[in-house]
Symmetry: C2
Subunit: 207 residues, 2 copies
């Protein structure tokens, strides 16, 4: 086992705490304590608490958008017009994959993503997701070809619906009794694909 890198431990601790208590609700002292590091370590390695959040966010988002992009490339290599089902699977799947591991970290990642997408403050939104925007645009045009009857606005609404379902997913587990059966980890993923595919293929809303 490699000696635990302080920088990485700070990222881990911050990811944990930001997801659980939010950005404002997490103190630099709590982060450094959980990471067994000195209080000044955040300033030294990241410059500020806000820049640490940006680094955490990038680390969580990047593999998701990478998998989304790779999945779309794979689909487009087979046919120029993939089915809605395939597009939903390739777009929503990676979010669930990232939220799965360990069932503990999954719910935390889910909460973190929801906090990121739901917070309009500058600090939370400062991670500059240009890659993420590009991936979303590519899916937008692929969905447009797969659903030609849908108005751009309604399509856009539906894609946001995908994000909503994926982000909330297990984020509110704390609302109810701790789940009768500790459901197999990929079940939520499959339920979501069913749910979202049906939703995406619905006929356009009549005006």
């Amino acid at each position: 086992m490699a000696p635990p890198d302080t920088r990485t431990q700070l990222l881990d601790a911050a990811e944990h705490l930001f997801a659980e208590r939010g950005f404002k609700g997490t103190s630099v002292r709590a982060i450094t304590e959980l990471a067994h590091a000195n209080l000044a370590a955040v300033g030294y390695h990241f410059g500020s608490k806000a820049e640490l959040l940006a680094a955490v966010t990038r680390r969580v988002i990047e593999p998701i958008t990478a998998a989304q992009t790779a999945g779309l490339d794979r689909l487009l290599a087979q046919t120029p017009d993939p089915s809605v089902t395939d597009l939903v699977e390739a777009f929503a799947g990676p979010m669930f994959d990232q939220m799965r591991a360990g069932d503990e970290r999954g719910a935390r990642t889910s909460r973190l993503i929801m906090r990121i997408f739901g917070d309009p403050s500058d600090e939370v939104r400062a991670w500059t997701g240009s890659v993420e925007a590009t991936a979303r645009d590519r899916y937008l045009s692929a969905f447009t070809r797969a659903l030609p009857d849908l108005s751009p606005d309604e399509l856009h609404f539906r894609i946001r619906g995908i994000l909503a379902v994926a982000a909330v997913d297990r984020a509110d587990l704390h609302n109810q009794p701790p789940a009768a059966t500790p459901l197999p980890s990929d079940q939520a993923r499959r339920w979501a694909i069913t749910f979202l595919t049906a939703a995406m293929t619905a006929p356009p809303t009549k005006p």
Copy 2:
């Protein structure tokens, strides 16, 4: 116009700021300043900042669950087994109605609800939504009768999907350019009903 009640102005200001900046991100000083009240007014009228949040939350959630309950009563008066479409409309509709007015307050309410449902901290969860739980349970059994092929767990997942779509809805408007057309306020509602009805009526996921 009635003289502006201090207590009400505090609720209004707090609702505004909690939605925009979150609970931890909002200071009592910011609330009282926006409400043109004294700093100690929060302590006097509500006891603490946390109890003010509980009051704000109750004021936002109560009319929604009331409308949900009334809508279900109305459906059940006509037939013991309402259709999925009707159930979705009666369950999700009131959320959008509450998030509509003025397009400004709508997005704020949406954000506030998302923050409430996504925050596991005790302060945010302390509003004791027993009425809200009752309404959800009644819809759960109604949906169970309307979708007898669905396992309880998957049904439960789908109902959470409704909440997700409704809560996120306009909450992330700040992500993209300020909407090409200032879409008519009930359009999101109708798109959501289409989206969610199709999603709810999807056949069960095969095991």
